[in-house]
């Protein structure tokens, strides 16, 4: 999951070297925390959160198969 978000985000920001994704996992839940350069915040959130929402939708594909919940937080 971490790799998926990293790959997407690094492809749409101006400063891919500043992208950091951390993954916290327990038996029923995964929390991904995404950090980007301040100037790239708008790109990963999108208008009305559309980009972040689309990434959450793709995460759900993996999560459903693994039988867990996945959350993406932009910090």
């Amino acid at each position: 999951m971490k790799e998926l978000i990293e790959y997407i985000v690094k492809s749409i920001v101006n400063k891919p070297e500043e992208v950091v994704v951390t993954e916290e996992r327990d038996s029923e839940r995964v929390i991904l925390k995404l950090q980007v350069a301040p100037e790239d915040m708008g790109r990963v959130i999108g208008k009305q959160g559309r980009v972040a929402q689309a990434m959450r939708t793709l995460l759900r594909v993996i999560a459903v198969r693994e039988g867990i919940r996945a959350d993406l937080e932009i910090v």
Binding site: E3, Q53, A54, M55, T57, L58, V61, I62
Partner: protein
């Protein structure tokens, strides 16, 4: 092809100059080709990271008029059990297409319109929505009662509006906001 400077044969090879031309169309095709290759690679990588085993095929320009017109790059994903990639009302497929569009456009530094399909889902959905629109228009005409369809995405609502735009006895209108926006078909005598 644009001739920037005409060549000169010179005299005995003295003062000869090469002609300089710019092949604009060629460059454009090259950019489109580079976008296409990149889009396919990125989609394959995304599917791989999503742990979905599927293959990506470039759709030929001849297939599917309506969808093709709006996106020069069309990719079709095929494999077993891909309903999970389509999602409710095509929501997952839309997210995948939107993110790929952002990724490829950012890399190419230009807007690269693209369309992704899963096992011909979009084409089937297009036909289904068109038929639904025509059927409902008939019902509206016969009963005089308006019909409101279930909520749809902008591109799906567009299919309904276009299917009925030349219909002489009904008019269509989108009502509601955001996720719950839907099309109403109304009787209108001319």
């Amino acid at each position: 092809m644009v001739v920037l400077k005409k060549g000169r044969p010179g005299f005995l090879g003295f003062g000869a100059e090469e002609a300089r031309v710019r092949v604009i169309r060629h460059r454009l095709e090259e950019a489109e080709r580079a976008s296409l290759i990149l889009a396919k690679e990125m989609l394959e990588k995304l599917l791989n990271l999503m742990k979905v085993s599927a293959s990506v095929r470039v759709k030929e320009p001849s297939s599917s008029g309506e969808i093709r017109e709006r996106a020069p790059i069309a990719l079709d994903i095929s494999g077993e059990d891909l309903g999970i990639l389509i999602g409710r009302r095509g929501n997952t497929l839309s997210s995948l297409q939107y993110l790929l569009y952002l990724m490829v456009s950012h890399q190419m530094k230009a807007r690269v319109l693209l369309s992704i399909d899963v096992e011909g889902y979009r084409e089937r959905r297009y036909e289904a929505l068109k038929n639904l629109a025509l059927r409902m228009a008939e019902r509206v005409r016969d009963t005089g009662q308006s019909v409101t369809l279930e909520p749809m995405s902008p591109s799906e609502r567009r299919i309904i509006h276009l299917a009925l735009q030349d219909h002489t006895e009904v008019i269509t209108q989108s009502i509601g906001e955001g996720e719950t926006r839907k099309v109403t078909i109304r009787y209108e005598k001319q």
